[in-house]
Amino acid sequence: MWFKTKKGIKPAPKREVPNGLWLKCNGCGEILYNKELAKNLWICEKCNYYFRISSKKYIEILTDEFTLKEDLIESDDPLEFKDYTEKLKSGKERSGAKDAIITGEAKIGKHRVAIGAMEFKFMGGSMGSVVGEKIKRIINLAEKEHIPFILVGASGGARMQEGILSLMQMAKTSGALARLGEAKVPYISILTNPTTGGVMASYASLGDIVIAEPNALLGFAGPRVIKQTIKQDLPEGFQRSEFLLEHGFLDAIVERKELKTTLIKILDFFNS
């Protein structure tokens, strides 16, 4: 199912923001009209606060055409973990996605790419067996077709409810990326708020190019865990995009409005 995203196939119901005509900015408290916000890609015009947006929205913002890849797999409950089945169900309802990632083939400008976008509304974007498997498959596709791979990260890390199987998805995806690298197929990692834990400690950090939206929380350990361990307050701006850039772990911080043009610039570099 191809669709032109530019011309605006009906976007998914905007569950990521409260229903109604307006909402209050989390950054400055200003009352903002949904219509205006949408036009501004869900960024507050007053204080530049970034509202979290869905995986579908990112696909719309970044691509011109998109074909969803249906892998025909869904999360099981291998540990018979308390409430996991219910959480999967509510994750589906809340996000409209089948799991914490959507993947597919897309066109960005004149470039064909393989792309994945994580869905934070689905159990905090957590990575279980399905997320890992879908990422592996889309990487393998990029390798086979020799088209660049792009991933939009948004995740609290590995999915606790799948225990050790979740942890192993880090090795699964990183192994696939090692192969992609050997085939000299570029991988661009885009980090959004938040990308942490096992996701950050595997594929999200492994891009040939790693860029992030401003002020996103990015890191290995969660701030609360660190605070508890060291028994001190954390410095201002700790683990934010700007902090990572300063310490040498990001190629660039890119405003949401500039993401697509930046991507095209990077793809042009690789493809010419």
């Binding site: 590995a158 192994g175 192969r179 950090s205 890191g219 290995f220 954390l234």
Partner: protein, 321 residues
């Protein structure tokens, strides 16, 4: 240092002491004592059997964390010859939470890497309780690449509760360091043998945990999250860790069932801390057995199989369109 006993170990230790005392005081010559000794020994065997065949996941976690459990430095002394520790990541500093070096096993050169918790309080602080910073992972990778360059197999012991969650660790890219290791280890062109000898603590373990063969000692565990942290998230109560340990299915048997490890290494009666020498002997035999056939596999096949093994991990449902 006096040994530390876990709650469920106590009755066994007490009975063992009783037998020993009886031995020393009266000797075996006395017929009455002899009978009594036989009786107590039978009782001991039964008690051990009952205890260790019915360990709860939480008891296994406690055994894996037992402060008297042998660490990498102990195994290195007991298993390898001519060990030379190699320090530093050549970028920032030496991280003593991971020991790296070169050595020999039965005359064969190998690269050695392992978590080190440290035994005495001073050592524990020096080794940061086995919780590595990015430098530890980078040092490990540097030394692994040395092994790759000169075609020496890599042997890794894992026993860490976690990668260290701290300000410096984040500043210097803990996530990036672990990610790079996982990726690089996927394609290293030498055999990699991994043994989890205590705690397999999440990304902190996986950062030195990608290999051709991954083995776990019987009472060791491997988990995506520490049981305490899991309980804190689930029930806002870290003291419910025993329940979390059960939910996480982190025991060696479950790991094998889930196909995330390749085998279980037997431990001496009551756990490795009860008999360092025997534990080391079993490990040595295990290492030699695996090195033997891994060395014969062509490198490209080895790497192919390693990637494929991890690529197949995970459990999910297939659905119809």
């Amino acid at each position: 240092m006096s040994p530390i006993w876990l709650e469920f170990e106590r009755p066994i230790i007490e009975l063992e002491r009783k037998i020993e005392e009886l031995h020393i005081i009266t000797g075996e010559d006395n017929l009455q004592t002899k009978e009594k000794l036989t009786e107590l020994k039978t009782e001991l065997t039964k008690l051990k059997e009952d205890t260790y065949s019915n360990l709860t996941p939480w008891q296994r976690v406690q055994l894996a964390r037992h402060p008297d459990r042998p660490y990498t430095s102990d195994y290195i002394k007991l298993i390898f010859d001519d060990f030379l520790e190699l320090h530093g990541d050549r970028h920032f500093r030496d991280d003593p939470a991971i020991i790296t070096g070169i050595g020999k096993i039965n005359g064969k050169s190998v690269v050695l890497i392992g978590s080190e918790k440290g035994r005495k309080t001073k050592d524990r602080i020096y080794h940061n309780f086995g919780m590595a910073h990015p430098e530890g992972y980078r040092k490990a990778l540097r030394v692994m690449k040395l092994g790759e360059k000169f075609n020496k197999p890599i042997i890794i012991f894992i026993d860490t509760s976690a990668a260290y969650p701290g300000i410096g660790a984040e500043e210097r890219g803990q996530a990036q360091a672990i990610a790079e290791n996982i990726k690089a280890m996927s394609t290293l062109k030498v055999p990699i043998l991994i043994m989890i000898t205590g705690e397999g603590g999440s990304g902190g373990a996986l950062g030195i945990g990608v290999g051709d063969v991954v083995l776990v000692q019987e009472y060791a565990f491997y988990s995506v999250i520490p049981p305490e942290a899991c309980a804190a998230i689930l029930w806002k109560d870290a003291s419910r860790a025993p329940e979390a340990a059960k939910s996480l299915k982190l025991t060696s048997k479950k790991l094998l069932e889930f196909k995330v490890i390749d085998g279980i290494i037997e431990e001496p009666d009551g756990g490795t801390h009860r008999d360092f020498k025997k534990a080391a002997t079993i490990l040595k035999e295990t290492i030699l057995k695996h090195l033997n056939y891994l060395s014969d596999i062509p490198t490209n096949v080895l790497v192919e199989k390693r990637i494929e093994k991890f690529a197949n991990m995970g459990i999910y449902k297939k659905i119809k369109s």
